[in-house]
């Protein structure tokens, strides 16, 4: 659940513009926001809100669930959650943008997280980031234009004992060097192969 893993995959096709508008959520008579496709994920999200009894306090929990289901938080998704929890959309947007964990943009098929905690930093994490930026031609915090990979910096993943650490699609690998990390990324970028497909 931490990093957008392969399971979450690309978020394309999530929000279908032609969605059959208002799907009723489970039993509560609450209407879904226009534009949010009535699919399994939406049902699961509705169930999560119900489980929290539509309490405003559960907003962060619900956002976690939504991001797990959809991979990122689309504005339409935020509106849907705001309606479900009876909160002003501004409040939902405010919370979603306050926390680093939540992403309002879709991520790439693969995610490379470089830990920039102090221990990793003193052992050369900044060089790793530079190397990856150069190799994959993607800026830190962004996704490659072909959607193959996102590069993210983490505050600290608590794997200080094996610094510098990198998280590749959810799997932590320690004691990285510029060469070893490039080796890991090769498979992702070459011929645009997508192991997750």
């Amino acid at each position: 659940m931490l990093y957008v893993s392969r399971r979450d995959g690309p978020a394309q096709g999530v929000i279908m513009e032609s969605a059959t508008a208002t799907a009723k959520t489970q039993g509560n008579g609450r209407n879904a926001a226009k534009g949010l496709a009535a699919d399994t994920r939406q049902k699961m999200l509705a169930a999560a809100m119900k489980r929290h009894q539509y309490q405003a306090d559960a907003l962060i929990e619900v956002l976690h669930t939504a991001q797990e289901l959809y991979g990122y938080l689309d504005p339409e998704l935020l509106v849907y959650i705001a309606q479900g929890l009876k909160l002003p959309p501004s409040r939902v947007y405010g919370v979603a943008t306050f926390y680093h964990f939540f992403s309002l943009k879709p991520k790439g098929r693969h995610t490379c997280v470089v830990c920039m905690g102090t221990a990793c930093y003193v052992k050369g994490a900044a060089t790793l980031v530079k190397t990856i930026e150069g190799y994959a031609k993607v800026r830190s915090g962004e996704t490659r234009s072909d959607g193959s990979m996102s590069l993210i910096q983490a505050r600290c993943i608590g794997a200080c004992g094996i610094a510098p650490a990198v998280v590749l699609d959810g799997a932590v690998v320690g004691k990285q060097t510029p060469d070893s990390v490039v080796n890991h990324l090769k498979g992702w970028l070459e011929n645009g192969s997508d192991r997750t497909a």
């Binding site: 931490l2 102090t118 003193v122 004992g161 094996i162 610094a163 799997a171």
Partner: protein
């Protein structure tokens, strides 16, 4: 559940133990080094050798020496293997039967890294299976809770904690008993307990390790606290970045509930207590207690002025007790062994032990627990084995972005709250990062200030604008564009942010800058000279600039 049943579970567990126990560390560090595969191949090697009746392979929490992961320990021989690969498994098993020595490298349990430790919080860490409550009960777990609920009055529990001298392990060191007493005194229909597991300091992983290795100890500590102050609901606010800790806590809570050790009428007493998890979403400021409470309430994690303190006005306005993971983890041991036992460990003002996460430029990285008052030199040189490849320690960073850099000449300082504060750092939650000559201190200060600028919640101006200005000034210095006067401005700016910020984040954000200015001023001054000199220093041990987020 009563005491007899509890003891029976423990007894049954002990009887089911086989004569030889192979412990494989399955905490996050070793797991990322392939510990799960090592465990599986050990299991199949045991089965193939037909030893399943006498040898048990157990996944345990953190054994401590993370740099040697994956770690495998063998009982009762007390052998520790490091950097074990799945291919080593058959030889480890055959060595048990008197065969040739195992191919895996043997680490030394008699190294000061292990012998100088006094485990209280980490007592079970690396010994028990964190996913089995029976294992914790067999290690006498939940007996202190029984003792507190059935044989002590709430006031006695508070008194015991007060007498023990336990202080908050989250960093500030507020006396725990005093805090409990305040919450206990307030009359209210509802009270809450919060466990702060939002271990945000980069370079610290003590709490993660405790939660991954011995989650029941934290639950038990919280339950004892709840009984003492009269609370019925607890929350653990844990970082979203710790998926393994989250899943082990969920398992632990479910198991405890099933056995009636959490829930209604615990140990057939009128005491009810439930614990829920709240998952953080990546905001450093949420380690601050009022911001953390805001986050539990589903809001942006912005701090508010204190008083009123959470003891009077906490979650949803009700009295709330907030303690750190390690603080709660000390509680069962204090109840079991008594306040006097605990008070004998440590120094006059800082009692007990402290868990530190050793990382950075140090031979033995990992987790240690030492009595308060142990010197930094003992920790870094004896236990940690010093800087690898014969390098020299330049500085030790404690307390994360709120702490400071302690220079090598102060290594003989005993580790306690007051001594570290007098050096311009703080105890903090326990991260200890060693830096060598390769690390430029202006660079380090810049790194932390970038962190604080980004993590400032934006509510108060001194922190929001001040940290940005300090960061800007540090960039200017690093780029060789600064003049001597800028260092004075930096000093003044730091003092202003320190004195006028709303919460601990802003108040302590200047510490890394102030401490490096104090001890490593020549490094700042080296950047001030002419642009030519500045570019020379650039190739001399300066780390690369950290990219902006």
């Amino acid at each position: 559940m009563d005491l007899t049943e509890l003891l029976e579970i423990g007894e049954k567990e002990r009887q089911s133990e086989r004569s030889i126990r192979i412990r494989v560390c399955v905490a996050a560090g070793c797991l990322s080094a392939n510990a799960q595969a090592v465990k599986q191949s050990l299991e199949s090697a045991v089965a193939e050798a037909g030893l399943a009746d006498s040898v048990q392979v157990a996944g345990v929490g953190c054994i401590g020496l993370c740099s040697g992961g994956p770690l495998v320990a063998v009982d009762p021989e007390n052998i520790l293997y490091e950097k074990v690969t799945p291919a080593d498994a058959p030889s480890i098993v055959s060595a048990l039967q008197g065969g040739a020595p195992a191919t895996a490298r043997q680490a030394d349990f008699n190294h000061p890294f292990f012998t100088k430790q006094v485990p209280i919080v980490l007592e079970n860490s690396g010994k028990i299976d964190p996913e089995r409550i029976e294992d914790y009960i067999a290690a006498n777990g939940y007996q202190p809770l029984y003792h507190a609920l059935r044989e002590m009055k709430p006031g006695d529990v508070v008194d015991t904690i007060t007498k023990s001298g336990l202080r908050g392990r989250g960093g500030a060191g507020y006396p725990t008993g005093l805090k409990w007493g305040l919450v206990a005194k307030v009359k209210s229909e509802r009270k809450f307990i919060v466990c702060n597991a939002d271990e945000g300091d980069p370079g610290a992983f003590m709490d993660r390790s405790v939660l991954e290795s011995d989650p029941h100890r934290v639950l038990e500590g919280m339950a004892i606290a709840a009984y003492a102050v009269g609370a019925t609901q607890g929350f653990i606010y844990v970082r979203g970045e710790y998926p393994l800790a989250i899943s082990r806590l969920q398992t632990a809570i479910r198991q405890a509930r099933k056995l009636g050790l959490l829930g209604s009428q615990i140990f057939e007493s009128p005491f009810d207590f439930r614990i829920d998890l709240r998952i953080g979403a990546g905001a450093f400021v949420c380690g601050e207690e009022t911001a953390l409470m805001g986050s539990i309430e589903g809001k942006r994690g912005t701090p508010r002025p204190r008083p009123p303190y959470p003891a009077e006005h906490g979650l949803w306005g009700f009295p709330t007790l907030i303690n750190n993971v390690e603080t709660f983890a000390n509680v069962p041991a204090i109840i079991r062994n008594g306040a006097d036992w605990f008070a004998k460990i440590g120094t006059e003002k800082s009692k007990g032990t402290k868990v530190f996460a050793l990382a950075g430029k140090i031979q033995n990285t990992g987790l240690i627990e030492v009595p308060m008052g142990t010197t930094l030199r003992t920790i870094i040189e004896e236990m940690g084995g010093g800087v690898p490849d014969g390098g020299a320690v330049k500085a030790v960073q404690t307390g994360g972005p709120s702490g400071g850099c302690i220079p090598a000449q102060a290594l003989d300082t005993p580790v306690d709250y007051e001594s570290l504060a007098s050096l311009g750092s703080i105890m903090g939650s326990g991260g200890m990062i060693v830096m060598d000559q390769q690390n430029n201190m202006v660079d380090v200060a810049h790194f932390f200030m970038e962190f604080c600028t980004d993590e400032s919640c934006g509510k108060c101006v001194p922190c929001r604008a001040g940290t940005a200005q300090i960061h800007h000034l540090l960039s200017k210095i690093r780029e060789g564009r600064a003049i001597a006067q800028d260092l004075d401005t930096l000093d003044r700016l730091c003092a202003m942010v320190k004195q006028t910020s709303l919460c601990g984040l802003g108040q302590s954000a200047p510490n890394p800058v102030l401490s490096t200015l104090r001890y490593f001023r020549p490094e700042y001054e080296a950047f001030l000279s002419t642009p030519e000199t500045a570019s020379e220093t650039a190739s001399d041990g300066r780390g690369p600039a950290s990219p902006a987020r």
